[in-house]
């Protein structure tokens, strides 16, 4: 058939190719359009981050004076400061780190290096991933029922620190496990081959290599804890504190005091929440200033953690 009328087929084919080219070009254009929309959607996040920060800066920059950091909250907005709030944040974080970090790292090490494959391990793993999904305010309810009333720690720095320690546990456990999992088995086998015990292998070979990865998780967890408000509101953190907890160091032996653990407290995000909830732009400026402090603090910590992980990825040469 085709050989009988070659010219027709050739023109048809030519027309077909043109059509095809048009079609391909059209579809390529849609590729570009879609990629552009995707980039736009992705930059919404970056734009929001910028807008949020610029908004805070514009509203609160003029309040960031030395006095702001050295004054107690006050009924007069222009005299109010965040002294008790940042001291409270530091002390609560001290408890959170002291309890949460060893607890979570040990749990992660156990699950990755020690745990046998049985139902107990499976149960623990399910529970860790469940805990990661529990809303933070539910940790607050747990703390209210358990720490504040059942164990009678009261509405104290101790209760707050423990609450946040439990809350960040899943984050650090997951990070620890990932860091340990990335270490090749050859290193463990080499150590076992020369007669090291499991703990010796873990302590001398696994943990040193895993430390940067674990540190990333710890920093991200603590940054989360610093910014967390809801569970601390739930256990009854006070919003107006015009005193500081007892100092941890004393002039008389034994020179260390733990009375501050039982003290009432406020923290930066709660102070900010309190100021946001009040009507009037003067207090809102205070809230913005406190917000700048919190955002800078958490962004620096998160940024450091991200940088640490990035460097880690670059330097790995197993």
């Amino acid at each position: 058939m085709a050989s009988l009328s070659p010219p027709v087929t050739v023109t048809r084919a030519a027309a077909g190719i043109d059509e095809l080219r048009l079609n391909v070009a059209r579809r390529r254009r849609w590729d570009i359009v879609f990629a552009a929309v995707g980039l736009l959607a992705t930059s919404v996040g970056v734009i929001t981050l910028l807008a949020l920060f610029v908004d805070l800066l514009l509203d609160g920059y003029h309040r960031l004076t030395p006095e702001f950091f050295l004054s107690y909250p006050s009924r007069r907005a222009d005299q109010a400061g965040i002294l008790s709030a940042w001291v409270g944040t530091c002390l609560v974080m001290l408890v959170t780190a002291a309890v949460g970090v060893p607890l979570s790292v040990c749990a992660g090490v156990y699950l990755e290096e020690y745990a046998p494959r049985n139902w107990v391990t499976a149960l623990i793993e399910i529970n860790v991933s469940n805990l990661a999904a529990v809303p933070s305010i539910v940790y607050g309810l747990l703390a209210l029922g358990l720490f504040v009333y059942a164990l009678n720690f009261g509405q104290s720095i101790l209760s707050a620190g423990l609450t946040l320690a439990l809350m960040i546990m899943p984050i650090i456990v997951v990070a620890t496990r990932e860091a340990i999992r990335a270490i090749p088995h050859t290193i463990r086998e080499a150590a076992y081959a020369v007669g090291a015990t499991r703990w010796q292998v873990t302590r001398d070979h696994v943990l040193p290599y895993a430390i940067p990865g674990i540190a990333t998780g710890v920093i991200i967890g603590l940054a989360r804890a610093i910014g967390e408000t809801a569970p601390l509101v739930t256990i009854g953190a006070l919003t107006f504190i015009a005193y500081l907890p007892d100092p941890p160091f004393t002039s008389t032996p034994p020179f260390v005091s733990f009375d501050w653990l039982w003290s009432g407290f406020t923290v930066l995000p709660i102070q900010m929440f309190n100021w946001v909830s009040r009507p009037g732009t003067a207090f809102h400026a205070n809230a913005a200033a406190a917000g700048i402090v919190i955002v800078v603090l958490t962004l620096v910590m998160n940024g450091f953690a991200i940088w640490l992980r990035y460097r880690l990825r670059q330097r790995i040469t197993w």
């Binding site: 981050l49 807008a51 040990c106 020690y114 860790v128 469940n130 805990l131 940024g303």
Partner: protein
């Protein structure tokens, strides 16, 4: 000679064994504390809620349309709080689903490596911003902004915190669905390209269908996140239980109610005190439900290849 070496080693081995056991016991205790914490959460919520349900019937709790535990004539219907929660989470999802999906598609299928490596840290930073700051942002930036478009928008409304929560959970939704898309084997993409499909066709007709269960799981996790979110709604939505489906009105979510009561310093054992545990129990059940759904979906999707 051999016997002296053995006698030198033996006590050390014995000593080592003991230390090994102690260390393992300590590590196990730490890991097992995860089970203890979960148990404690469930027990605390159940015990305090049991006290609540002794005074309020479950039927009233689930069907009454008023939530006024702190009024003289107290009524305990969870519906207004549930409604506020669903509304806020709904608005958040309307924002987060398309945005998160686009971000995930772009980062997984379109973005050059350099762009991806630059943008991802920013998304992670967005996730790290404390929620109380987002609350400030919703109340004092987004609400005034929205007033340009909806002039009679009240100062407290569900729309603005909903949008902010939506943007807040975008990085999370995007990273979970991106993981699902990355798990699609490259051979599928290559087969599609070999048939002459473009990038977009491959993305929409090969990658997305193959990753559907993972993507839907990401949305479920996003719902769970949005439902449990507290400070943004507590600050910007008005803390007023309101049985409405209009996002322009003020309303209270379950989480906002808990915050409101906790701020009021109710006496231990009072019905108001117990009511926040009942509310918390409902919240926990909802979030766990969505998490379990997400988990099941992901298990299915893991089996695919």
């Amino acid at each position: 000679m051999a016997s002296t070496t053995r006698s030198l080693i033996r006590p050390r081995v014995h000593h080592r064994d003991l230390r090994e056991r102690i260390v393992e016991a300590i590590l196990f205790t730490c890991a097992a504390s995860a089970v203890a914490i979960t148990t404690a959460i469930v027990v605390v919520l159940l015990v305090e809620s049991a006290g609540f349900f002794e005074r309020v019937s479950i039927v009233d709790f689930l069907t009454d349309t008023m939530w006024t535990p702190l009024f003289a004539e107290a009524r305990y219907g969870i519906l207004p709080l549930l409604c506020g929660t669903v509304l806020a989470a709904g608005v958040a999802l309307i924002v987060a689903v398309p945005l998160g999906l686009m971000v995930a598609l772009y980062l997984s299928e379109f973005a050059p490596v350099k762009v991806r490596e630059t943008i991802k840290p920013f998304l992670e930073l967005l996730e790290g911003v404390p929620t109380v700051v987002y609350g400030y942002f919703a109340l004092l930036f987004v609400t005034p902004l929205l007033r340009n478009f909806i002039p009679d928008l009240p100062g407290f409304n569900v729309l603005s915190p909903g949008i902010v929560i939506g943007i807040m959970i975008v990085p999370y939704v995007a990273s979970v669905s991106e993981d699902a898309m990355r798990a699609v084997p490259n051979s599928l993409r290559e087969a599609s390209y070999a048939c002459g499909a473009t990038r977009l066709q491959t993305t929409l007709r090969v990658v997305v269908p193959a990753a559907t269960s993972g993507i839907v799981a990401a949305f479920m996790l996003g719902i769970a996140r949005a439902t449990g979110e507290t400070m943004v709604v507590a600050i910007a939505a008005g803390q007023q239980p309101n049985l409405t489906l209009d996002p322009r009105e003020p309303a209270a979510t379950i989480t906002a109610y808990i915050v409101q009561v906790a701020l009021g310093d109710l006496p231990h054992g009072s019905i108001g005190y117990q009511s926040i545990f009942a509310a918390g129990l409902v919240l926990l059940v909802i979030t766990l439900l969505f998490n379990v759904l997400a988990h099941l979906l992901r298990m299915r999707f893991r089996e695919a290849y």
